[in-house]
């Protein structure tokens, strides 16, 4: 395992003042089936020049988080909590007021470059529009010149000619470069990139990530990079926030989360990834089951039903983010104390067998029915162990220790 200090990581350490502070963000969508609680109490702060990665699987609430910050959710969404940009509350602002912030101070890069540009306007006009929208004193000619500069910056050849092209004349990678050019047109302080390379091929992804780095260097903007690809996160970000079922379940520096994950979900996620640099073909360790429904989720840890370390106490209440042995590294698991100071690999706790027996709907019904009967019964009926399953390499006394402390 790696050493704790990495010079490259130290160089990238940002200054301490927060540009964007998200506190206890909750998003609820009313649906026919009930209220979907898509984001549940997510908090993070972003400092100048810092890159924060938000990772999670489909439906974990990572995109909804970013859309809530940008005020881009439909009006039916119920958003609570606080989003402070430079100490200014963004939640509850009127659309007109937000429009002055969006594209100026906070810019966004969306997932699908095919749909995020307007097909009937020339590329150059779309960039110039962004510039002039926020600063009317810029002349058309100056805005156009700025568009050319920006296109050059994001690596579009013959920029002066290409500003008169329409989006359909560009490939996916080129379009995403244009979207990045638009995002950095006004020197934003925060860039939110929501799965910026997911729709692209790997070789194009590598190009676009390079452009994103250039854009960051150029603007000095703090960046939120949202992705499901742990590989992309590893190379791009300073800190990571892992999301599961609408909640942050682990936060820390990229090295801490990748080399010393403490939440069983993060451990499992890392273990389920096939590695291109692994020649020995170790068997993968899948995470059994599927994420819970966000309509009336049962009490307790949302990862519980899929977790190999799950026992009855996990179902009592949802765990907070508990501190680990490293500063600023927190994990939402009541057994985190047992994991402190030990390296637990996915294959130690997850099984590698290949069955997938429970239906999502059934699991959800079973859960809530059990929850109504009370936890003791749930344990008896659902086969949830009442004693914590041992963790390989961890002294069982550590658990007792933890109990006493708790």
């Amino acid at each position: 395992m790696a050493t704790l200090t990495d010079p490259a990581a130290d160089q990238r350490r940002p200054s301490a003042d927060a540009v964007l502070e998200v506190e206890d963000l909750n998003v609820r969508f009313p649906t026919d089936d009930g209220i979907v609680h898509a984001v549940r109490g997510v908090s993070f702060s972003l400092r100048t020049g810092e890159v924060l990665g938000i990772v999670g699987e489909s439906g974990s609430g990572k995109s909804v988080t970013s859309l809530a910050v940008m005020g881009l959710l439909p009006s039916s969404a119920n958003i609570t909590g606080s989003v402070l940009f430079r100490d200014r509350q963004l939640l509850g602002l009127k659309d007109a007021e937000l429009s002055a912030v969006r594209g100026k101070s906070i810019a966004m890069v969306f997932q699908d470059p095919m749909t995020s540009l307007d097909p009937v306007y020339k590329i150059g006009n779309q960039i110039a529009e962004t510039v002039r929208q926020h600063d009317k004193s810029v002349s058309r000619a100056a805005a156009k010149a700025r568009a050319v500069d920006l296109l050059k910056l994001v690596g579009i050849p013959n920029a002066a000619d290409r500003i008169d092209s329409y989006p359909h004349e560009f490939s996916g990678g080129m379009r995403q470069r244009v979207v990045i050019a638009i995002a950095i047109a006004n020197q934003p302080e925060v860039i939110i990139a929501d799965e910026p390379t997911t729709a692209l091929d790997v070789t194009v992804q590598a190009q676009v990530l390079e452009v994103l780095k250039t854009a960051q260097d150029e603007t000095g903007a703090a960046t939120v990079l949202i992705t499901h690809d742990l590989g992309v996160v590893a190379g791009m970000v300073d800190r990571v926030l892992v999301m599961y079922a609408g909640r942050a379940v682990e936060k820390g520096t990229v090295d801490d989360v990748f080399y010393r994950p403490k939440m069983p979900y993060s451990i499992g996620l890392l273990g389920s990834m096939p590695r291109i640099d692994a020649g020995d073909r170790q068997r993968l360790t899948p995470i059994k089951g599927s994420p819970p429904s966000l309509i009336n989720p049962p009490p307790g840890c949302p990862f519980g039903p899929r977790c190999p370390l799950h026992y009855s106490k996990c179902d009592e209440q949802e765990p907070d983010l508990y501190p680990t042995e490293r500063p600023d590294h927190t994990a939402a698991c009541i057994r985190v104390n047992e994991l402190v100071g030990v390296d637990v690999a996915a294959e130690d706790i997850f099984t590698d067998d290949s069955s997938d027996l429970t239906l999502g709907a059934e699991a959800a019904i079973g859960e809530s029915a059990l929850a109504q009967q009370g936890v003791g019964d749930a344990a008896a009926v659902g086969g949830v162990p009442t004693e914590p399953p041992p963790i390989p390499g961890v002294d069982p006394d550590a658990h007792r220790d933890h109990e006493e402390r708790a």
Partner: protein, 353 residues
């Protein structure tokens, strides 16, 4: 299925083993029609342009490339779902490309396909029993009374609960739906499975389970897989040999470790270097070989070597004399002293990972 893996079965092919599937010079051209009243063919999209593959019994052959390189079309042309426009596909010595629908049907029991999108490849109006049972009925392999039992066996085989055989696809998760698709493909006890991006639509934690299942099934049932994918990490994990495709042609073929440890074609090299590794410290130190530009149109591929318009070697390392050869001569897929065949005049193995 047990979690304890038995001793790894020998998947190294013997010197005397005959390939189950032999593909030679396979071509699939799609005509481009003119816009006039009489829609004459004015050109061809050369989606697959002369590829050779050998699939040996019990092995997994990975076929990788980026979108539009022709890998899925290759799979479909092999199965005769989109008839090839040239070349030959032989299954155990029997030519498939010249067969009509009726004579192809018995062979469909031998070669089956698993599609990419488990949301689109299952009929939403049929319960699992009917979806998995359909091939059994069409090919009249079991009687009505045996059907349920056989389907339950298949569901168990792919790690699903047989009690769910009366459920509809929407009740299952993406990974489970993909398992239903696999059970359907296995219903007729095929020898060869063409897996067309079987795990690309799944989240990683779910994907791992399906990858493990495919490994177990191959070893248990002695299947051969043509594993079509764009994700090289999955391919490295699952395949015994890998062929890399670019713009309708295979540019490099090698044993998996050989390909990943000593890639010789500049395209394979840039592909490998572009893939992010979930290891922050290595990732920060890595130097990428960045490609410029985009994939040219397969309707009008560049002369000579098709990769030369984006090739970092062509752009930065070769002299003008050397470039002549790239422009004029299509490089054949042969071994140029790197231990495996690659289609580059100036192939040179590099260590990148």
């Amino acid at each position: 299925m047990t979690s304890a893996t038995p001793a790894p079965p020998v998947r190294q092919r013997g010197a005397d083993a005959e390939p189950v599937l032999t593909v030679r010079g396979l071509e699939k051209y799609f005509p481009i029609k003119g816009g006039g009243l009489i829609r004459r063919t004015v050109g061809n999209i050369k989606a697959v342009d002369g590829i050779d593959l050998d699939l040996y019994p019990g092995e997994t052959l990975g076929l990788v490339g980026e979108s539009g390189c022709g890998k899925s079309t290759t799979g479909r042309a092999i199965l005769h779902l989109q008839p090839a426009t040239g070349g030959s596909v032989k299954y155990n010595g029997q030519e498939l490309t010249t067969l009509n629908r009726r004579s192809m049907r018995p062979l469909r029991r031998e070669i089956q396909i698993v599609f990419q999108d488990p949301y689109a490849s299952l009929n939403p109006r049929l319960p699992v029993l009917d979806i998995v049972g359909e091939p059994l009925i069409i090919h009249k392999v079991v009687s009505k009374s045996q059907l349920r039992g056989r389907v339950n066996e298949l569901l168990e085989l792919v790690g699903l609960n047989p009690e769910h055989n009366n459920r509809y696809p929407h009740e299952f998760s993406g990974g489970q739906r993909q398992r239903i698709g696999i059970a359907r493909a296995l219903a007729l006890q095929p020898k060869v499975l063409i897996l067309d991006e079987p795990v690309s639509a799944l989240d990683v934690s779910i994907q791992a389970g399906v990858v493990n299942l495919l490994e177990d099934l191959r070893d248990q049932l002695g299947l051969s897989y043509l594993f079509i994918a764009h994700d090289l990490s999955v391919v490295r994990h699952t395949s015994d040999r890998v062929s890399v495709m670019y713009l309708g042609k295979i540019v490099e073929t090698a044993g998996t470790d050989d390909l990943f440890d000593r890639p010789a074609h500049p395209y394979t090299q840039s592909l490998l270097s572009a893939i992010p590794i979930p290891d922050p410290q290595r990732e920060r130190r890595r130097k990428r070989i960045l490609l410029t530009g985009d994939v040219p149109s397969p309707a009008n591929p560049p002369s000579g070597c098709r990769f030369r318009t984006r090739c970092p070697k062509f752009a930065n390392q070769l002299t003008d004399d050397q470039r002549e050869k790239c422009i004029n001569e299509d490089p054949p897929l042969i071994d140029r002293g790197n231990g495996h065949p690659s289609a580059c005049h100036y192939a040179e193995a590099l260590t990148l990972l």
